[in-house]
Symmetry: C2
């Protein structure tokens, strides 16, 4: 495959589009779009979110130690993009987007009602990376849209319809089709079964 | 939206499917599937990959300090699943999958030829998370499929066709359609333009 070299830059891998919801010490809710987010450990369940150190969201997390990572459905792409462009210091983003909140169970930060998956987190570690802070949150509770669960308990991905962000080229995409089942389809290549 | 509580667990967000390629101190190449991977800083360009501390890949990175994160196209879903299920201590994964390598420019670890994007990394920091190690790599060179670039330099996402992994429910998906342009479509909601 012929390739060209791009040098050291921030390139794209498919990343989740999330809204991080927090509350300030004065009780004001802020929401911010973050795509540098992902599960990083099972022991214990931990999520990592990278935030610019000047963001209001980072300030709020420093004050409360709590945050919620909300999965953005494809239908909210414009709202999510807006929440990444503006600061909670200037706008009331809930008012502008029309998004609503619900109380979390374990942490001092609200769930975003319209997001089909909400992950309650308590900050446990932090790493300095230039202008960014990689905040590690232990997952303490998860809320998932009830309608996504079938009678057998299986989850229907299309009900969540998660929005995928491609960073380097700055595009939001939805999912297409299932390509394979993990921990199963790869067994076709097991040498012992050849 | 009615929701159910799942407790603290590892849930799914759309994550990239990547193959991490490394070389041991004896010069043996290993490739391993990793989906807990993502860009975490622009200053400098940094990628984070979470690996179980018992993996051969982690051992290799400890020895050389180098690794390459390769984007998996949807056409290689079965090969990628296989590379996550087996250990480089037991199988020659390149031989089983038929994947081939090309030399990197800056690091001691090969590129996977069939992957449309290859990110050369030097380990700069590491974080302990239970059984996992979050390895932070400074991006030193990127190789991207030449055919993905249009005459105006724009990148066509469909040429890359990145495979998305949904962890909690263990499914691989491809991308569907573009939902929005980032840093642009959100401006429709700017209060000053209402």
């Amino acid at each position: 495959m012929k390739k060209r070299q791009l040098g050291p830059c921030v390139t794209f891998f498919p990343q989740p589009t999330t809204l991080v919801s927090t509350v300030s010490s004065e009780g004001l809710v802020d929401i911010m779009t973050a795509s540098w987010a992902g599960i990083v450990s099972k022991t214990p369940p931990t999520i990592a979110v990278s935030l610019n150190k000047n963001r209001k969201t980072y300030e709020n997390i420093c004050q409360t130690g709590n945050f919620v990572v909300n999965m953005v459905p494809a239908s909210l792409a414009v709202e999510a993009d807006y929440c990444g462009l503006r600061s909670g210091r200037d706008d009331d983003k809930l008012m502008v987007t029309g998004l609503s909140t619900a109380p979390a169970h374990e942490v001092e930060a609200p769930l975003i009602e319209e997001c089909p998956l909400n992950v309650e987190c308590r900050r446990v570690q932090e790493l300095e990376l230039g202008e960014y802070r990689l905040v590690l949150g232990e997952i303490v509770q998860i809320h998932a849209a009830d309608e996504a669960f079938g009678e057998n308990g299986q989850i229907d991905t299309r009900t969540f319809d998660p929005l995928v962000y491609l960073g380097g080229i700055r595009e939001y995409w939805n999912l297409g089709n299932k390509s394979a089942d993990a921990y199963r389809d790869g067994k076709k290549l097991f040498p012992s079964e050849e």
